[in-house]
């Protein structure tokens, strides 16, 4: 029942977002049916379309999980972007520095990425729990610090500038690569997606099947009751932020090891921000995040197809995504309409 209700809210929000998107499409002179047809075909029409959807979805899945785990404890991690960048860099560093046997090397690189992200999540978590600093401002600010830090590391003056003309590191060793799921080709998803789905399941298990996860959820829902139940609130907050950082860092690592194979400045077009959307569309449920990430990946992949077919610019899909999010964050909107209807009825006034 609960699941149905949640799905209903998300469904209505998505429909509202796409509806307004359709109006914008029409208003700018494009064909609504053609755009939607290409969108669906590009995202799910054939195996390559779907592969593209999955590739696009992978990093968003990690940042969605990052956002939602902090959200579950009642905090906003809007700095997944920075955690992802640092995670990506340190994974790359381990990838081209350490010399390890194939599978172990990948694992170690992923671990480096997660650890770097975790450290970047710990700072705002600690500042919030112990010093009362607003975590949404600190995570945002730390995001930019990470952006400029990694950018410096690979800049011409920096220590890991590994290319003549591009700001990027050297290529990671082949032992550190996360192989692609299907035959070669840049657009195909890597094993990073499998890692992501696995991590989503683990996150679900952690939140809903362990005492620690139980405590994190209790703190998020009712700090007073959690305190009464013997939960150390500060510790739960810090733990959740560390995990949030680790998840985003892992996402950065997976993206570098699986897709780019080296750290490139600006490799993230805003995956951290997309994670906020993904986490919210998922209604903060880890398994939901898999589908939310796929939805957003589909919009991206579909958007490209829309462009290729010459129907409309691909960025239209981005607009759709923004609109969907705007409606997802306003669940009250749906309740609001319901309330107005009820009130009208209560006052015996006719409905318009």
């Amino acid at each position: 029942m609960k699941l149905l209700r949640e799905l209903g809210i998300v469904g209505v929000s998505v429909a509202l977002g796409l509806g307004v998107g359709a109006i914008i499409t029409a208003a700018t002179g494009y064909s609504v049916p053609a755009v939607f047809r290409e969108l669906v075909r590009g995202a799910f029409g054939d195996i390559y379309g779907f592969a593209n959807t999955m590739t696009q979805a992978t990093p968003i899945l990690f940042t969605s999980l990052s956002f939602l785990i902090a959200f579950r404890v009642g905090l906003f991690n809007i700095g997944a972007e920075g955690q992802l960048l640092l995670g990506g860099f340190f994974a790359a560093w381990a990838g081209f520095t350490l010399n390890l046997p194939p599978i172990l090397h990948v694992v170690v690189c992923l671990f480096f990425g997660a650890a770097a992200g975790a450290a970047w999540g710990f700072i705002p978590g600690w500042l919030r729990a112990r010093r009362g600093a607003n975590e949404f401002v600190t995570t945002m600010m730390l995001s930019y610090v990470a952006l400029y830090l990694t950018s410096w590391l690979v800049s011409p003056g920096g220590p890991y500038h590994g290319h003549q003309w591009a700001n990027q590191t050297a290529r990671i060793m082949s032992s550190a690569e996360l192989p692609r799921l299907m035959a070669s080709g840049r657009e195909l998803p890597s094993w990073g997606l499998v890692v992501g789905v696995l991590v989503a399941v683990i996150a679900w298990y952690f939140l809903f099947r362990t005492p620690r996860g139980y405590e994190i959820r209790a703190v998020g829902q009712s700090p007073l009751a959690a305190e009464y139940g013997g939960v150390d609130i500060a510790r739960a907050q810090i733990l959740a932020m560390v995990l949030a950082g680790a998840l985003a860092g892992l996402g950065g690592a997976a993206e570098i090891l699986g897709t780019h194979r080296r750290f490139i400045e600006g490799f993230s077009p805003g995956y951290g921000w997309d994670g906020i959307a993904g986490g919210l569309i998922a209604r903060a449920h880890p398994i939901g995040a898999v589908f939310a990430a796929l939805l957003m990946g589909a919009l991206r992949a579909g958007g490209r197809a829309v462009d290729r077919a010459g129907v409309a610019p691909s960025d239209l899909a981005w607009v759709f995504q923004g609109l969907v999010i705007l409606f997802v964050v306003a669940p009250e909107l749906i309740r609001y309409f319901k309330r107005i209807r009820l009130r009208r009825r209560a006052h015996g006034r006719p409905e318009p």
């Binding site: 010093r131 401002v137 830090l149 003056g157 805003g270 997309d274 919210l280 607009v319």
Partner: protein, 285 residues
């Protein structure tokens, strides 16, 4: 010496302008109790629409009006979301940022056929907006602390129930200042466009967030927030000249690091409005 010449200070003022506009807007918004991290996107929308309208009408003045108008519209949306729909302030703001970024890429493609940039369009002298900003900073300081409206605004953000019992409409006040915040962010965007002569998606580049940082460092007061913005602008101007000496990356980080230190309370108590980010639920009556 040589580096510290007069035009360094002048350049700093120019670089500080968009930051100060946002800081000012966010000061009003947060003083009334509404957090808006959508300022980044709102400024971007101001630049985008300002450039578009100026391009088509060939009137930079119309462009300016449109920039302010779209800012107010986004401020209104944010306020409706936060005040009436009780959406979380942070996620509503993040949604606005994402939406506007998408719209910016889309509209530039639709209008000019280039992804993320516009053609050049007629502009105003950017100094006009710089001095507007300076004037608004001074007026805001007086408005906030010397006028009845400023007093009411502060009470709404600190203790909405007290405001309500004093006969002040909390909802209307919050919506009003959210719209004002949008207008000022629109001006920030308008400045960026008029400064460059064209629109580019990267032109805000975190200045909206730095505006919030300036507000935090300025402790929710217009003049100190402006001084913080000026400091950030100065560092920005300085690093352009010192690029060969120290990597610019580190000086750019300054606003962010400083904000974290301020927020951590290492520099004394912040003036965070007591009811910031909390919806005011008027009891049934």
């Amino acid at each position: 010496m040589g580096v510290l010449s007069l035009d360094l200070f002048v350049a700093a003022l120019r670089l500080a302008t968009p930051i100060a506009f946002v800081a000012l807007g966010e000061t009003f918004s947060e003083r009334s109790g509404t957090i808006n991290i959508g300022v980044e996107g709102t400024a971007l929308a101001g630049a985008l629409i300002g450039a578009t309208v100026s391009f088509f009408s060939q009137s930079p003045w119309l462009g300016l009006a449109a920039a302010v108008g779209v800012g107010m519209l986004l401020g209104l949306i944010h306020a409706i979301w936060c005040v009436y729909l009780r959406s979380d302030h942070v996620v509503a703001g993040a949604a606005i940022n994402l939406l506007v970024t998408g719209l910016a890429y889309f509209l530039t493609r639709v209008v000019w056929g280039w992804r993320g940039t516009s053609a050049s369009a007629p502009i105003l002298n950017p100094w006009l907006l710089v001095w507007t900003m300076v004037a608004l900073v001074l007026i805001s300081q007086i408005f906030l602390f010397r006028t009845p409206w400023g007093l009411r605004l502060r009470v709404v953000g600190e203790h909405p129930k007290a405001a309500d019992t004093a006969g002040i409409n909390v909802y209307r006040t919050r919506v009003g200042y959210s719209v004002l915040n949008g207008a000022l962010c629109g001006l920030a965007g308008a400045f960026l466009f008029n400064n460059l002569g064209r629109f580019s998606v990267g032109m805000v580049g975190g200045r909206g967030f730095i505006g919030i940082a300036a507000m935090v460092v300025g402790n929710y007061r217009p003049i100190p927030a402006f001084l913080a913005a000026y400091l950030f602008g100065f560092v920005d101007a300085l690093q352009m000249r010192l690029q060969d000496v120290i990597p610019s990356h580190f000086s750019i980080m300054l606003p962010y690091v400083l904000t974290i230190i301020v927020l951590a309370g290492f520099l004394g108590r912040a003036n965070v409005p007591a009811a910031l980010g909390k919806p005011y639920i008027k009891e049934e009556g």
